[in-house]
Amino acid sequence: MFSGFMVNAWIVATIVAVVGGAVGFFVVLRGSAFVAHAIPNGSFAGAAAASLIGINTLIGLGVFAFGSALGIGLLGRRGRHDVATALTLVFALGLGALFLSFTVEYAPEIYSLLFGEVLGISANQLGPTIVLAAVCLVVLALLYRPLLLSSTLPDSAHARGIPPYAAELAFLILVALATTMTVPVVGTALIFSLMIGPPAAARAFTTRPLTAVALSVAIAVAVAWAAIALSYQTNWPVGFYVGVISAASYAAGRIWTYARRHRVAARGEATKNGGESPRFARPIRSSSTGSAGS
């Protein structure tokens, strides 16, 4: 399980999980799950186009990921954001369907694009993945503070010279960057799951942003490793395990929150006067985490 081609799989999955978990923190914070779904899926068309005209898949993915990000940003500027996202996504997928119909042998290829082939990663894919991951993490580190402020307190960020629209566009491009690097190795479905499940679980366990990012990365890496190990043992697709285990980690977070709230409630019943009342425990907690109120 740890020899030969599997070494590449472990390395790449770890890198992808680190980037997915870190970028995913902002996806969950901003309530942008749809965007995190749309950009990777839309870039799928780019991969199909690249294989049609015979260029590097990464270029096709990059062009379509950034195209989708800009399309969502422009169409959603004045109008319904979710409608803009949906229409950009389906248009990109429709183009993908067209490109696929032009090629002859497509079914296994389309399958691996959608659901990944992390077990079949070759050594020459490692280099670009590592470089793109480094770029992605550096951009994330640079944008961390302004993006955090803009996601939690858009008005206050605007007053300090961070317009919400610029923050949104920067966020979309960040997702596009993460997508370009991860889709060829793990598929569109997998990166989406890693961007949603682990960060959502992390936010249930901690309220501090940096701790949440770290925890989210840790959970994402754990999910990716478990998925590879199980996939290796059973021969079932990695995407299946990543999707299901990510959802399970979120469920664990929900159960933890539920249990703790009941503990707080029980303590509040017992002490009546002392301490914070359970009614206020939630709002204070969630405002320090900073839920993006859209």
Partner: protein, 288 residues
């Protein structure tokens, strides 16, 4: 047929039985998705629609595995997914996005598994593409009554809850103040949406089904503010897009790379219609 008309409509278009079936099914589906879609746009639930469609792919592929009509798989899994979303709190404005995303992630995982099992169990690889991107020309005549019945159920549900649904969608607070069962209405609506998405998935494919749900409705809501008119308008836009898409796909057999997918034309026309409605605003809308 005059020569110039023959240039637009390739010979044999109206006499082909599979085209006739596609036109009828396409129109039925467009009416249902247009009606349901207006509320999807008003309620801001495009992501839920998208998720139901994507998860439907796992239903379609499992239907192939056990050898029943894909429509049953689409319907079954979409309704189940709608129930799970409802359970884990998709109706609340905050966290709704997240709940949808979690269900979608898990559903996509299942789709990966079923499609994988489908590829290794059968020698044909066409199922994956058919489920994901649809093929309206390959529909069976026996699906027509099923489409009609399921469409009628979805439309009937919307009709029954029309007024409370409209109020709750525009202002949940007002609905709650009037003691309307906000959550029950939301659940019923989600069910109707699951049916509409399943129907859309049969015609243009599971992962493109949102196009018919959201596109015509969003276009219609750009043109008019009245819900009743918007529904009629959305259905008409949907039928127009669908028929034009079928026509172009039929014509494309004489183009390079014979036979472009219907889904591509439908999706492109939907996007063009939406952008056109944004660029050319209705004169009356200027007032506000």
């Amino acid at each position: 047929m005059p020569a110039d008309l023959a240039a637009i409509i390739a010979p044999g278009f109206f006499s082909s039985s599979s085209v006739q079936l596609a036109l009828v099914v396409g129109a039925l589906v467009a009416i249902v998705t247009g009606t349901v879609g207006v509320f999807t746009v008003i309620r801001g639930q495009s992501f839920a629609g998208e998720a139901l469609g994507d998860i439907g792919a796992s239903g379609g592929s499992s239907a192939y595995l056990v050898g029943i009509a894909p429509l049953w798989g689409f319907v079954g899994i979409s309704v189940a997914a709608a129930a799970v979303m409802e359970l884990i709190g998709i109706q609340r404005a905050r966290g709704r996005d997240l709940a949808t995303g979690i269900v979608l992630g898990a559903g996509f995982g299942l789709a990966a598994l079923f499609l994988y099992l489908g590829t290794i169990s059968s020698s044909t690889t066409g199922a994956t593409v058919t489920i994901l991107f649809g093929s309206i020309f390959e529909l069976d005549t026996s699906t027509l009554p099923l489409v009609a019945v399921l469409g009628a159920i979805a439309l009937g549900m919307i009709l029954v809850i029309y007024r409370p649904l409209l109020l709750v969608s525009v202002s949940p607070e007002l609905g709650a103040a009037r003691r309307l069962p906000v959550r029950l209405i939301g659940s019923l609506y989600l069910l109707a949406m699951a049916l509409a998405v399943a129907l859309s998935a049969v015609t243009i494919g599971a992962i493109l089904s949102t196009a018919l749900l959201v596109g015509p409705a969003a276009t219609a809501l750009q043109l008019t503010r009245r819900p009743g008119r918007a529904i009629v308008c959305a259905a008409l836009v949907g039928i127009g897009v669908m028929w034009l898409g079928i026509l172009l796909a039929y014509d494309s057999y004489t183009w390079p790379h014979h036979g472009w997918p219907v889904s591509f034309f439908v999706v492109t026309l939907v996007l063009i219609a939406y952008i056109a409605s944004r660029v050319i605003p209705a004169p009356r809308k200027r007032r506000d």
